[in-house]
């Protein structure tokens, strides 16, 4: 993410809600979580990655709602939590589109909405192959206070997140992000390699990054009886991601890198939980990250939506 400020009005910008997240907001989140837990059915088959993408597309007509968060320790600044929402829709068997809303709360500072993203993934080959490519295109409209770390590119580093929110939010990033996703499924394993190119539409060079992932269910065959606490519902794996410099200086030097085990747990209700502690691999990286999230998939959302208006 480029961190150079574009032209903004000087002076502090009032926060939509200052201070830590209000009790009311937490109550609302709790109610939404319970409602999703009580709702029925999903058919997710995706690996539990937070950063890497596999070639698994959303089923056509389905809507997956995800609530994710990242907690990061911060040297030279305050630790933070950055929650984000994802709305993933299967437009076609070969086209998945997704909308993100990003927020963050920095301890001892403030909480704020940091922007939105609109992502599209296209699967050009209609059959399954050893290596399956997916083309990824995303438009980002975020401000400099965004800390979701959905990708690490260029020379992104821990110090970028030490800037106080009031200052960081004045920077506006309009970015185009592209990815080449390569992914394979073999003997229960998924292995994914993502090559990232991100362009700030201001006068910035292309920034590059990578994300790798490998995961496998703890049991391959299903058991005859429905169960929540059985190994077949658990998927474990690991992710590694980091920056690769820019078009002017493609390098590993001065970039940050992370290694993060991931664990996914799918309940019978269709809710999936994911957890991932991440560890910075060099001095440019946050020392520790913790990501968590849950998702719920609404099957045949398009049909259900249409039926409301008939």
């Amino acid at each position: 993410m480029a961190r150079e400020a574009s032209l903004q009005a000087p002076g502090p910008i009032p926060s939509p809600f200052s201070g830590p997240l209000s009790t009311r907001a937490w109550h609302l989140l709790f109610v939404v979580a319970i409602a999703l837990l009580l709702a029925a059915r999903a058919s997710a088959q995706e690996p539990p990655y937070f950063v890497a993408y596999s070639h698994q597309m959303e089923e056509p007509g389905n809507l997956e709602i995800e609530a994710n968060s990242i907690y990061a320790t911060q040297r030279g600044g305050n630790d933070f939590i950055a929650p984000w929402m994802e709305f993933e829709y299967g437009a076609k068997g070969w086209w998945t589109t997704e909308f993100y809303l990003d927020t963050q709360a920095t301890f001892g500072d403030s909480a704020l909405f940091t922007g939105y993203r609109w992502e599209n993934r296209f699967r050009p080959l209609m059959r399954e192959h050893w290596i399956n490519p997916v083309l990824y295109l995303e438009w980002e409209d975020t401000n400099g206070a965004d800390k979701t770390m959905k990708e690490v590119v260029g020379f992104d580093k821990e110090a970028d997140h030490a800037v106080p929110n009031a200052e960081a939010r004045r920077e506006h990033d309009h970015e185009l992000e592209t990815k080449l996703i390569l992914s394979s499924n073999f003997k229960g394993w998924n292995v994914a390699e993502n090559f990232i190119g991100e362009k700030n539409l201001g006068d910035e060079p292309w920034e590059f990054g990578y994300a790798l992932g490998a995961s496998r269910p703890l049991r391959l065959a299903a058991t005859p009886r429905p169960c929540n606490f059985c190994r077949e519902n658990l998927v474990a794996g690991v992710e590694m991601y980091g920056g690769l410099g820019t078009a002017k200086a493609t390098t590993l030097s001065g970039t940050s890198h992370y290694l993060a085990p991931v664990l996914g747990w799918q309940l019978l209700s269709g809710v999936t939980f994911r957890l991932s502690p991440g560890f910075g691999l060099n001095d440019n990286s946050h020392r520790f990250l913790l990501r968590w999230g849950f998702s719920y998939e609404i099957g045949s959302f398009d049909r259900k939506l249409r039926s409301l208006f008939q």
């Binding site: 059915r41 058919s43 088959q45 995706e46 690996p47 596999s54 698994q56 597309m57 089923e59 056509p60 007509g61 299967g90 076609k92 068997g93 070969w94 699967r123 209609m126 059959r127 399954e128 499924n185 003997k187 229960g188 998924n190 269910p217 391959l220 065959a221 299903a222 058991t223 005859p224 009886r225 429905p226 019978l268 099957g299 045949s300 049909r303």
Partner: protein, 136 residues
């Protein structure tokens, strides 16, 4: 005149029978979703693969559970198809070999809206096929 009335009655009866039978045939064995066409493209090595779970009651039960989790939303709880999905009890699908069906599950028919289920381990896809083959 009696012969004429008898012939008319027979004609009427056969027309009525045809009217009731025609929708059933249409419902059960037409390839409106292009499924048979895609299944016919399964490579030979897949076509001849035997289901390692064939005849195993536990695998059929697991397959039924997986079907309810992943497939019933589109194909219906009874697998007869609904809206935009194929009837999985149709003769054309039941005639396909287990290998052809598991190949189809792995690849899907993305252009027609059937997702690829390659994200499911092969063992679970075979379990689903074991269940589908009990729906004849």
């Amino acid at each position: 005149m009696r012969r004429f009335l008898l012939a008319l009655a027979l004609l009427n009866g056969s027309l009525a029978a045809a009217q009731t039978a025609a929708p059933a045939a249409h419902h059960h064995d037409t390839d409106s979703r292009g499924v048979y066409t895609v299944i016919a493209q399964a490579p030979v090595k897949w076509r001849d693969w035997k289901n390692p779970y064939e005849g195993q009651a536990d695998a059929v039960a697991a397959g039924e559970k997986l079907f309810r989790q992943h497939c019933a939303e589109c194909h219906g709880e009874d697998a007869r198809g609904a809206h935009r999905s194929a009837n999985l009890r149709a003769p054309g699908i039941q005639r396909a070999t287990p290998g052809e069906v598991v190949w189809f599950l792995r690849n899907g028919n993305l252009a027609a809206g059937m997702p690829s289920w390659s994200g499911l381990p092969a063992e679970r896809r075979w379990q689903i096929v074991a269940y589908l083959k009990t729906l004849r």
